[in-house]
């Protein structure tokens, strides 16, 4: 049975070397088609604008109405209530507390201490390697 001519041509087409480099250009954008994304953004903006328009526009700007309700207290400035990102792994630090209690004081900041550790561990490793081999 004869193969259709187009398929024969494609079959030959795929034998071109370095096909893998330009293959993505030939399959189209798929989900990343920019025109489709533009249309979706514009639709979302229209929906959001319609929802925002149904809100109350006759409020006094710049007064207490814009600030959060904190039982009548003044809202502190953002710098005063910031939490450092390192608080995210608090649980990790609590669980390995024994390890941290031993290891953090060892990091004295003195360069010669670090050099001693380096030399000592290198010597130990060389000794072990010499013994094992």
């Amino acid at each position: 049975m004869h193969l259709p001519t187009r398929v024969v041509i494609l079959h030959q087409y795929w034998e071109v070397p370095d096909m893998d480099l330009i293959a993505p250009l030939l399959t189209g954008y798929g989900v990343w088609a920019p025109v489709a994304w533009l249309v979706a953004f514009v639709a979302a903006v229209i929906v959001v604008y319609l929802l925002w328009k149904t809100g109350e526009s006759s409020y006094k700007k710049g007064t207490e109405l814009e600030r959060p309700y904190l039982s009548g207290n003044v809202e502190p400035e953002k710098g005063a209530v910031h939490i450092r990102a390192s608080n995210l792994y608090w649980g990790f630090l609590q669980a390995l507390k024994g390890y941290y209690d031993v290891l953090v004081p060892v990091h004295t900041g003195i360069l010669s201490d670090y050099m001693i550790w380096f030399v000592a561990v290198t010597a130990l490793v060389l000794v072990i390697v010499g013994v094992l081999s």
């Binding site: 109350e56 007064t63 039982s71």
Partner: protein, 143 residues
């Protein structure tokens, strides 16, 4: 400040305590209870002044609470009704000569309806709410 028709039907109430002994609070909670059942009119207690139409203020205004009461009053969006429950906020009540108070409530924020009593009965509080609604109806008719 526009008054919609639904404003007269279901008022959401926020309660603010400026140093009260909690007697008026107990009577407010008794008013919300099923015996008098204002919830069939759609009235309920809300947790934030930004959701409220009516601000119920109890207690004489202690010095520490005066600025906070003013701030909460400003956070209630227009249109609003302020009701003063109890005699502490009107003339001091039992604290008529005190060293730690910042005056009756109307020195701190403007009040629409005064409900006297120590504490006022739930019937008196409901009558006060009726008076507030009458005032709102007059406002709406005048617009």
């Amino acid at each position: 400040m526009k008054l919609t028709k639904s404003f007269n039907r279901s008022l959401w109430v926020f309660h603010l305590n400026t140093g009260s002994c909690n007697g008026c609070e107990i009577e407010i909670v008794a008013t919300i209870c099923p015996r008098y059942d204002p919830e069939r009119f759609g009235m309920k207690l809300v947790g934030s002044p930004k959701h409220a139409d009516v601000l119920l203020v109890t207690g004489p205004v202690t010095k520490k609470m005066a600025a906070k009461a003013r701030r909460v009053y400003e956070q209630v969006p227009d249109p609003k009704v302020v009701m003063c429950i109890g005699t502490c906020g009107q003339s001091g009540g039992v604290f008529y000569d005190s060293y730690n108070l910042d005056g009756p409530i109307d020195q701190v924020l403007p009040v629409d309806v005064y409900v006297p009593g120590c504490p006022p009965r739930p019937e008196a509080i409901i009558y006060g709410v009726v008076k507030a609604q009458e005032k709102l109806e007059r406002l709406e008719a005048a617009q």
